[in-house]
Amino acid sequence: MAPRKKPRKTPTKAQLDAKAEPQEHTFSVLVANEAGVLARVVGLFSGRGYNIDSLTVSEVDEEEHLSKITIVTTGTPMIIEQIRAQLERLVPVRRVADLTVEGPSVSRELALVKVKGRGEKRVESLRIADIFRAHVVDSTNNSFVFEIVGDTGKLDAFIELMQPLGLIDVSRTGVVAIARGAEEM
């Protein structure tokens, strides 16, 4: 099993801008996949009044029973630092990475978008889907389900364009993210 990362340096007052506006951060949290671990993480956020903008979780290492949780949250630098320290002190949490500040990262989200319509609107939805490289994964003579992958902004844009064309349902996975480059987490 990969050991815990070397303890990181706690920021000083000078590094925590007290007047800064809240900012969106994406955390990647590697946890032991044991009963209740998701409840611990989610309970930490609700119990301390932090926001969860997006949350995904899945096992990533079957042998070691490790899961990865990706959380998108918003807060001032002091709150973000608290969230990180609070996550790190949960016993089943192995590693926490703040992908927003620790170098470049990629993030992706998948959405399934259902559009109902006939005639020109139906054709237009297909044209836009093509531009966005969305795939049709289900089709009836008056509906499509599109599968689209991308960052959150791209999905938002696609869904907005589908709105006037007969959008009737959306399912989104939430964000998954990973650091760029050759290093392990």
């Binding site: 609070q86 790190e88 016993v91």
Partner: protein, 585 residues
């Protein structure tokens, strides 16, 4: 070599024995019957049968705080487990190592709303540092050892292990503590050298320093208190201790300024406000200490030593964060200070002490006992004087009497003072005293309480009497919820609402009924004799002392106010901090 196999109940007892547990506070129930059957057939670990599971957890806390070893509580499923919740949160807030074992319904019935079923791990998840549901007897020994490890390492706290009945009855392998390696929990003990160097250099350059230490020093073990004392003495800096830290530095030393915060001394609060370097060792900038955070010590550079990274920059952002155990960091601070041959700024310190002397001269804890009713301050001052130098442990409940006890009883060493700080749990004092006495059978244990708190866990007086624990309960009986009355007087137009406790009961009869020796005092002239008698009797003693109903705790910084807004006495008597004081920077 094949390991021997045991029944779950035996594994629990073996694990407790290997963890060097001498005493368990518990209450049996349906699902823990097979465990109690095994408890009854051994005498390695003493079981104290409490009267209520909340009492069991507070007793375990009292035991832990006074001995430095983890306390152990045992409860059954459902209501047994839910009754432990207040005790668990109390231990979580005050960082007390407690291991709580609870029974659970048979695994196959979990989730079926079975008789006496509760989602114990769900309910206690935010009430514990960590908790476990044991799924198989094969895991039982490992989980219990891991629970002790987590409870006692890093920032201590309560850990709960929920054990279904079939796991207690089943068979499994026993592994010892040495065979259990916690998978991921590895708190940082040693502080970073560069930060400690920066800290000591900042301390040496200070003109108006203060050392502000808390419960982390006590939790780190008696060695930390010795090192803190050495640091305070070596630097000549003033030292203030939080409610949780009392005893970490001897109260009788002239460099001790008393407690800071809402009911702290004028000198401690003004020194916190005016200092230019604040050295926080094992305290957590609690709101009862900081008051209004915007106005908290605005001109100081702050050093913060804490084993829990989440305590740092939580309420107050600091300039030099040091993550580590207090003993290790204090040792490094002293070593680096000496190696660098650092010197303090003596002339500046002299000026600083002169300023502190002016605040001390206002005698913010002064009071006068007239021939009216006994004042709580007087009763506790006499308790302090009449037991000076004795082997005494003190627990308190919560409210006015707790603040007066913190102000007027002085502690010369750590682990002598047990109080519910973070959670402020009324009902803590009596069971905690029981736990302290169980850990220190030959010492004197005094529970300072008042009738509101006392009634919240009074049932444990039956336990104390049954086991012949010579606990002394000092009931400062003012017939009112004093702190509620004080706030109603000061902040709610002097309108009393639902705080009167003149309803009784007759505490002397009650004490007698529980098997305590009842004593009483109601006149200031009787105080000394009553306290001496209480301390002399080697049995459970209950001293009901009729005290003033109208007394308020001063000094007082109203909630959310700044340190200079301190009120020293009745009629809004202010500290009259002059402009020169304020302009020192």
């Amino acid at each position: 070599m094949a390991k021997r196999r045991f029944i779950g109940g035996e594994i629990i007892l073996k694990a407790l024995a290997d963890q060097d547990v001498d005493v368990v506070f518990g209450y049996p129930g349906g699902v823990t019957l097979p465990l109690y059957d095994k408890i009854g057939q051994q005498n390695r670990t003493k079981h104290i049968l409490v009267a209520h599971e909340q009492g069991a957890v507070h007793a375990a806390e009292g035991y832990a705080r006074s001995t430095g070893k983890p306390g152990v509580a045992l409860a059954t499923s459902g209501p047994g487990a839910t009754n432990t919740v207040t005790g668990l949160v109390d231990a979580l807030m005050d960082s007390i190592p407690v291991v709580c074992l609870t029974g659970q319904v048979v695994s196959t019935l979990i989730g079926n709303d079975a008789f006496q079923e509760a989602d114990t791990t769900g309910i206690t998840r935010p009430a514990t540092k960590h908790n476990y549901l044991v799924k198989s007897t094969e895991d039982l020994a490992r989980v219990i050892h891991e629970a002790f490890y987590v409870a006692t390492h890093g920032r201590p706290g309560p850990v709960l292990v929920d054990i279904p009945k079939d796991v207690i009855l089943g068979e499994g392998e026993y592994v010892g503590p040495e065979d259990v390696l916690p998978k991921s929990y590895a708190p940082q003990i040693k502080g970073e050298k560069a930060s400690i160097e920066e800290a000591v250099e900042l301390m040496a350059s200070a003109k108006r320093p203060i050392i502000y230490a808390g419960g982390g020093v006590i939790n780190s073990g008696p060695k930390a208190s010795k090192l803190l004392t050495e640091l305070v003495d070596m630097t000549g800096f003033p030292c203030t201790l939080t409610l949780m830290g009392l005893g970490a530095y001897p109260a009788s030393r002239p460099q001790f300024l008393g407690m800071p915060g809402m009911h702290g001394t004028l000198e401690a609060n003004m020194a916190m406000y005016q200092c230019d370097v604040m050295v926080n060792i094992g305290a957590r900038f609690d709101d009862r200490v900081t008051g209004k955070t915007d106005a908290f010590s605005p001109r100081s550079k702050k050093i913060h030593v804490d084993i829990d990274p989440s305590s740092i920059n939580k309420n107050i952002a600091v300039d030099v964060p040091i993550i580590g155990d207090c003993t290790s960091v204090l040792r490094d601070m002293l070593r680096i200070w000496k190696a660098k041959n650092l010197k303090t700024d003596k002339p500046a310190l002299k000026k600083w002490w002169a300023q502190i002397g002016k605040w001390q001269a206002k005698d913010s804890l002064g009071f006068e006992q007239d021939d009216g009713p006994i004042k709580q301050q007087y009763a506790l001052s006499r308790l302090r004087e009449l037991t000076r130098g004795d082997d005494v442990y003190v627990t308190t409940d919560v409210g006015q009497h707790q603040m007066w006890a913190a102000q007027y009883l002085h502690f010369e060493e750590p682990n002598r003072w047990m109080t519910s700080g973070g959670l402020g749990t009324m009902g803590y004092g009596v069971p905690a005293a029981m736990g302290v006495q169980a850990g220190h059978p030959d010492s004197k244990v005094v529970c300072v309480t008042s009738e509101g708190s006392l009634l919240m866990n009074i049932q444990e007086m039956a336990t104390i009497a049954k086991y012949g624990l010579p606990v002394k309960i000092l009931n400062l009986n003012n017939n009112v919820l004093g702190m509620i009355r004080q706030w109603q007087e000061l902040f709610h137009g002097n309108r009393e609402s639902e705080c009167d406790l003149s309803r009784g009961p007759d505490f002397l009869k009650l004490a007698e009924g529980f098997g305590f020796v009842p004593l009483s005092a109601s006149d200031p002239a009787e105080v000394d004799d009553a306290i001496n008698e209480m301390m002399r009797i080697d049995k459970p003693v209950f001293l009901n002392m009729a005290v003033s109903r109208d007394e308020n705790v001063f000094p007082m910084i109203p909630a959310g106010a700044a340190h200079y807004d301190i009120v020293l006495g009745p009629n809004d008597q202010r500290a009259e901090v002059d402009d020169d004081d304020m302009m020192m920077a």
